[in-house]
């Protein structure tokens, strides 16, 4: 019983997560060493860990990591600003929403990464191309979730506002937006995932920039431990961004 409570606490949950991850790696290591998993497809976890100092020193993985982080940062700022604004516009103008919402939904499902030649033509083989693809790929969920959050504001909260004679701008800033925030952040997190996938994917495809390009190179040299090590840095990037969005959300709307 006490163990269960501890596992539910914040530190407990973290410890369980770390333990599970370590256990998984130990299991993989054992399976490979036992010959049940082919070493030429999955390298030993111990080799991957051992490769990290090497890819830091020789492959400058930290520079690549910073470059990808920067691209993701720009894309997410643009996604947040543009996505939330479009969501608000769609919410305010019903006609616009009816006309465009299903297109936005379709855009969310489209494999935007395949449009990379078009972006290359417009923006050249540069970080701008990568950021723009990430931005376009992550936009749809933010728009849809912003609309959903605003439209889902409980009617009684709006009536409370009306009973105190709020102005339209007070209604938006003090009631609609805070009420929509949890949903907006779900959209932002989804958008961030889409942007990350596309950013690293395009770096890989056009062989330019950050971690994606490095993974491409290492894979071509058949440096498997290095490849997986670099993928570890991609995961680190997404963990950092998730943590930052969670912190911003808690700061903006301290619920729970």
């Amino acid at each position: 019983m006490r163990l269960k409570d501890w596992a539910r606490s914040r530190n407990g949950a973290r410890a369980v997560g770390v333990t599970a991850t370590v256990a998984f790696f130990v299991l993989v290591e054992a399976l490979i060493r036992a010959g049940l998993v082919n070493q030429f497809i999955v390298p030993l976890p111990s080799q991957i860990i051992a490769s990290i100092p090497r890819i830091i020193a020789e492959e400058h993985v930290l520079d690549r990591f910073l470059q990808t982080m920067q691209e993701v940062l720009w894309a997410s700022v643009m996604i947040a600003v543009v996505g939330i604004s479009i969501g608000v516009l769609f919410f305010k103008f019903r006609g616009l929403r009816l006309a465009c919402e299903s297109w936005v939904g379709a855009m969310a499902a489209a494999p935007i990464v395949l449009l990379y030649p078009l972006f290359l033509v417009i923006f050249g083989r540069s970080a701008t191309t990568i950021v723009m693809i990430g931005f376009v790929a992550g936009l749809a969920p933010v728009i849809l979730k912003t609309i959903e959050g605003l439209a889902g504001t409980r009617a009684v909260l709006l009536n409370v506002g009306r009973s105190f004679k709020v102005t339209p701008s007070q209604q938006f800033w003090k009631i609609l937006l805070p009420a929509a925030l949890p949903s907006v952040f779900v959209g932002l997190r989804l958008g961030l995932i889409f942007a990350m996938i596309n950013i690293v994917g395009v770096e890989f495809l056009i062989n330019f920039g950050g971690l994606g390009q490095l993974i491409n190179e290492l894979a071509e040299r058949y440096d498997l431990p290095g490849t997986y090590g670099a993928i570890g840095f991609v995961i680190l990037t997404s963990m950092l961004f998730f943590d930052v969005t969670a912190r911003i959300e808690r700061w903006l709307r301290p619920v729970e």
Binding site: R154, V160, R162, S163, F164, V166, L181, V255
Partner: protein, 281 residues
């Protein structure tokens, strides 16, 4: 049965409702939710409107509060017709209405913030009303941390903080258990005496209506009309102990006599609707 002067507002009425009717067009025909409803409330009075569910209480609440337009008749405060929401009338809603992202203090300060009061001033006034409803010590808590009864007290404090001349409440304790409801009733009465707050309470709860009110208006079911006005001549100050007195029992019985017929009609109408295969509107 009606008091002879029921439809003409008393000369010293603070709130007057005159010949108010409201019709809703629905796919199944026009529903008359409220019909020719007139009454008035004097300054400092505590008046309740009681009726079975679906009889038009919330419709009347929204009309008086100014959230619902398109009705016939007139609502006035101190003789001046009001339309739209009005600072003289403070509303407390039936549903959970605290802002979940604001602390107790910031919830209560909301109307003051809207009115443009400076931060220090509104925090001081909000703290006063938080204490008035007995929530001192919970200023920094979020609604999610509170019980339903505490949240409803926050909503009441928030409305009181705007210092309305008339406090208008729609079944504010409907979601609470009976014990909490009785104790909260004491709190409301105590505040009402302290502030000499003119109050109009809408309820379907007999005990609550008799426990709190100077007068109870009984509403008919479909269309919602005024059936009878019962003066509650129980002594003040009152508290929930009053429910065990003989006089209390008499008043409850008297109102139940009228209400019973309306409630039965409400239940019969529900059954008929289900048999017709219609939806509950």
């Amino acid at each position: 049965m009606l008091n002879s002067d029921a439809s003409a507002p008393a000369a010293n009425a603070l709130l007057a409702v005159e010949h108010v009717s409201k019709h809703f067009p629905t796919p199944e025909g026009v529903v008359t939710a409220v019909e020719d409803f007139s009454f008035s409330v004097k300054a400092g009075e505590f008046v309740s409107i009681i009726g079975p569910s679906g009889c038009g209480k919330s419709t009347l609440f929204n009309i008086i509060g100014g959230l619902l337009g398109g009705y016939e008749g007139r609502v006035s405060v101190d003789g001046a017709t009001v339309s739209g929401t009005h600072p003289s009338i403070g509303m407390v809603f039936q549903e959970e209405s605290t802002f979940p992202w604001r602390t107790v203090l910031d919830n209560v300060a909301f109307p003051l913030e809207i009115a443009g009061m400076d931060k220090a001033g509104r925090q001081e006034r909000a703290a006063h009303f938080v204490a008035l409803v007995g929530l001192q010590g919970f200023e920094r808590r979020l609604p999610a941390e509170l019980s339903g009864g505490m949240r409803q007290r926050v909503a009441i404090a928030r409305t009181l903080a705007s210092q309305p001349r008339i406090l208008l409440m729609d079944e504010p304790f409907a979601a609470l258990d009976e014990q909490t409801r009785l104790l909260l009733g004491d709190k409301v009465l105590q505040i009402q005496q302290e502030l000499k707050q003119t109050t109009l309470l809408i309820t379907h709860n007999l005990t609550e209506a008799v426990q709190l009110s100077d007068r109870v208006l009984v509403m008919t079911y479909r269309p919602g009309r005024l059936k009878r006005i019962v003066d509650i001549d129980l002594p003040h100050p009152r508290d929930s102990e009053v429910v065990s007195s003989e006089a209390f029992g008499h008043r409850v019985a008297e109102i139940w006599h009228d209400l019973r017929e309306e409630a039965s009609r409400g239940i019969a109408a529900d059954e008929a609707r289900v048999l017709r295969g219609g939806h509950r509107p």
